[in-house]
């Protein structure tokens, strides 16, 4: 038998200590152990992007990260970004433009879009497409998502100038 291992990390700023099996991936740890079900599990091999979270401020696939690998790390999920208000304008833009239908991809889309807007305040549509290329949406056809991200970028640029 393989014994559970201890892991201590920060999740959305709060310390978490747990015992987990090595095979448990971070997405399942967040969803099953911590009941943070905003992180979605799609393909489980890194293709769809629905499970995107931030570790140490950088977006990663939580389905391709083991929970034991997050020892000492700071993990942020869609719940954290949403509750802090960091992406309130981006969420509003998604709503206004119908940039989601079933909503399954939306947490990953928001995480990835916010990552782009932090690195590049005024991306063109091509840059938005490229950054979101690792996130599948099966409902919207992407146009409305690109619109929402572009509109948010312009609004933020307008506010800061």
């Amino acid at each position: 038998m393989i014994a559970p291992m201890s892991v201590s990390l920060l999740v959305n700023g709060e310390p978490v200590d747990a015992f987990v099996l090595p095979r448990l991936n971070l997405a399942d740890f967040l969803r099953e152990n911590l009941k943070l079900t905003g992180t979605h599990v799609g393909c489980e091999h890194g293709v769809c992007g629905a499970c995107t979270v931030r570790i140490s401020g950088e977006i990663v696939r939580s389905c391709l990260t083991l929970a034991v690998q997050t020892q000492g790390a700071s993990v942020e999920t869609i719940e954290g970004l949403s509750d802090s208000g960091e992406i309130a304008d981006l969420q509003a833009a998604f709503r206004e433009r119908n940039a989601l239908q079933c909503g399954y991809c939306t947490p990953g889309m928001l995480m990835t879009a916010q990552d782009l807007l932090k690195q590049s305040p005024t991306p063109d549509r091509e840059a938005i497409r490229e950054h979101l290329s690792g996130n599948y949406c099966r409902c919207t056809g992407y146009q409305a998502i690109i619109d929402a991200v572009e509109a948010t970028a312009k609004a933020r640029a307008g506010r800061s100038s």
């Binding site: 095979r23 991936n25 399942d28 890194g46 391709l64 034991v68 690998q69």
Partner: protein
């Protein structure tokens, strides 16, 4: 799917990682960024008994210039290559290639050593290593081995690495003055594995190739340094001589059939890339005739 159960060990040093590999041998897999290993484990293509995590081995991280060589530690992430001024200056082919390696969230964790040890024939970095004449540095119980990239890749997911060895670094000769490079791939979606790709580096003097290395990928079981490049060196390239080279390239390739394309389609796309590449490197757009026929 989820990965099958495995035991997890976090190596504390390269020596410790080698000790763990010596104990567990081919029952173990080395985990660096996990962006190839974890999908393979989740799909149950791989079920190692033990996973040896080398993420703490800071000595395997980083990019340094030593004389005429760019040394890249095995744990250097794709995003680090993307942001490195030294890579942009001394290995511009790698800079051009890296944005085609998967997507931002994967480049934040995937490592160069992991990609090379995994040796997917449709991935970008193995082809770049072959084109750039890199040396792969591995350490094992008997000490260090240095393997030419052209000898390192042995087949689909197969390399010259033994189960008790660890890939520690790659060494790239600094791009010669006046060299130019070309990188393009066909993929279903930006960042996906290539259907066919080409990583090329050249030295052009007075409108002719003084040197040309053409690394094709996703056209066989390993990256291919095309011999046909020899036909284009030290000669004035004409549409006719290029068509001849393209015909010879088709003979040289042994592409596989999969869901993404037939061998005939891959041969055609390789020709398209050859023409684009030569036209771009020689700055003669008229040479890119689209590989019709």
């Amino acid at each position: 799917m989820k990965a099958a159960a495995f035991a997890y060990a976090r190596a504390t040093s390269v020596v410790n990682a080698l000790e763990l590999l010596a104990v567990h041998g081919d029952k173990a897999k080395v985990l660096s960024g996990g962006q190839s290993l974890m999908p393979a484990m989740n799909l149950r293509l791989l079920s190692p008994d033990v996973v040896i995590d080398i993420c703490d081995l800071a000595e395997l991280r980083g990019i340094v210039v030593k004389g005429n060589v760019l040394v890249i530690g095995a744990l250097t992430r794709h995003v680090d290559l993307q942001r490195s001024a030294d890579v942009a200056t001394y290995a511009p082919l790698l800079r051009d290639a890296i944005v085609h390696v998967a997507h931002p969230a994967i480049r934040n964790r995937g490592t160069i050593g992991g990609s090379l040890a995994h040796a997917d024939p449709a991935s970008e970095l193995p082809a770049c290593m072959v084109t750039l004449d890199a040396t792969i540095v591995v350490r094992g119980p008997g000490g260090e081995r240095r393997i030419a990239a052209t000898e390192f890749f042995k087949g689909i997911y197969e390399t010259a690495l033994s189960p008790d060895e660890l890939l520690v670094a790659v060494e790239l000769p600094i791009a010669p003055a006046g060299s130019t490079c070309f990188f393009q791939e066909f993929a279903r979606r930006h960042g996906d594995y290539a259907i066919v790709g080409l990583a090329a580096q050249a030295v052009v003097k007075d409108g002719t190739f003084a040197n040309l290395r053409l690394g094709f990928f996703a056209v066989g079981d390993r990256p291919l340094l095309a011999a046909v490049a020899g036909k284009l060196i030290d000669v004035f390239v004409t549409p006719a001589s290029l068509a001849e080279a393209a015909a010879a390239l088709v003979e040289e390739l042994d592409p596989h059939e999969d869901q993404q394309g037939s061998p005939a389609m891959r041969r055609h796309l390789a020709k398209v890339l050859l023409l684009r590449c030569v036209a771009a490197l020689l700055a003669r757009p008229e040479l890119d005739t689209g590989a019709a026929g």
